[in-house]
């Protein structure tokens, strides 16, 4: 699994912080040929957003996508821990705190797109 968004220099304290950090962490050279939609479905509190990757560009949208390529589900708490490097993704997966649906190939591309 390679679904976490890797370790920023300063701690991100909210989902909005994470989203705000994405443009700076985006690596278009790693998704030049990719068209895919990644969705995050967070809980406690509920928050769903998705990112469309389209050949080296990305857009963030609020809400659910009808047919995302990959859907990542966890609590907000776990998500922030993963983003901040306070929890390993493998631990989140084996303890059932992180659930990933959809194409495993695409899921594992994610950590090369947002570094």
């Amino acid at each position: 699994m390679a679904t976490d968004i890797s370790k920023p220099d300063t701690l991100l304290h909210s989902v909005d912080d994470v989203i705000a950090s994405m443009p700076a962490r985006f690596h278009p050279e790693n998704c030049r040929d990719l068209v895919a939609t990644y969705q995050w479905k967070l809980s406690q509190p509920d928050r769903t957003f998705h990112i469309s990757i389209d050949k080296g560009t990305f857009r963030i949208h609020d809400g659910a996508h009808p047919d995302p390529s990959v859907s990542i589900e966890s609590s907000e708490e776990v998500y922030l821990k993963l983003v901040n490097g306070q929890m390993k993704d493998v631990m989140a997966v084996v303890t059932g705190k992180l659930r990933v649906r959809g194409s495993i190939s695409l899921a594992q591309k994610l950590n090369r797109i947002f570094i």
Partner: protein
Amino acid sequence: METTLEPTLSPQFSKLINRLNEVSDRKQMSVLHDHPWDLSPEGAWLKKRENLSIYGTEFYDLATEEERRLLSVYETGCWWHTFVIFENLVTEYYMKIINHESLAPFPAVIKYMHHFCREEITHALVFRKAMKHFSIAPFPVPDNLKDFYKDNAALADFPLKAVFLTIIIEWFAENNAMLDCNNDFVSPLARAVAVEHHKEEARHIEWGKSMIREFAERVPGFLEEAQEYTAPFMRNLLDMSTVNPETYARVGFSHPAFQDQERLFEAALFCENRDQINRRIMEPLLRFFVETTIYTPALHELWEAARFGPALEQVLARHNGRPDANDNLLDTPV
């Protein structure tokens, strides 16, 4: 990736299929007669202690002997149940492949797929019976594990990936099961379950490996996709089949250290003992991936990220371009 094979089979593959069909024709596992069902479940160990997930960690010493035994019961039961789930899924997909009729020009292949499904269902019956025998209630199979398979295998009308992922799972699970029970300490019934399963499963693995070789050669895009998803898929499989929150919960360890779930999981997943076991399980598979170029040096980084780096280097060092004649753990003494 929806496609059909060209209407020819290699002579080697035809020969293999015919041999497999003959053996499957000859003897079918009996739900009633092939295992010592009269053995008492009382006090039985279902896997050897060295293969308990907590063996070689501080938690092993903190567990009572009865808790260890219970862990051997539930970890094996959880495996059995995982087998049941996957055997049910693969049978649905294989029947779908048969019904799709793309393989109709190959009656021997269809025949073996029938045998395969029949044997899978028999295995599911036997595993469920064994769980009942040892009073092990069904496990909630980790959502992630099931999702990975369903999402990636069931997509197409003619799910080739199902064949690939299934063989990977079966082969891996088979190696695991054989390693777990090759010890006199383990209940003869649990060993019979593994051994009888193995007899038919070894054929499924041979078949599956040949199918994968055919796909890799003939089906456009198959190899490229497999090169990308195999490493993370294997890693998930390995980790999720090693530890399971439900298993620990059922044992109900008395020592308070077990409350720290994250520490417990981390200890079990990353200890030296587990690393050794995983290497043994994975070695034949890694050899096969190298041989079929499902592992390719260009994407070594993916394998590295999935923590197969050192094991792969070991295999690569030994691998001289020729496949191993017997690359599952057939010879493991039981």
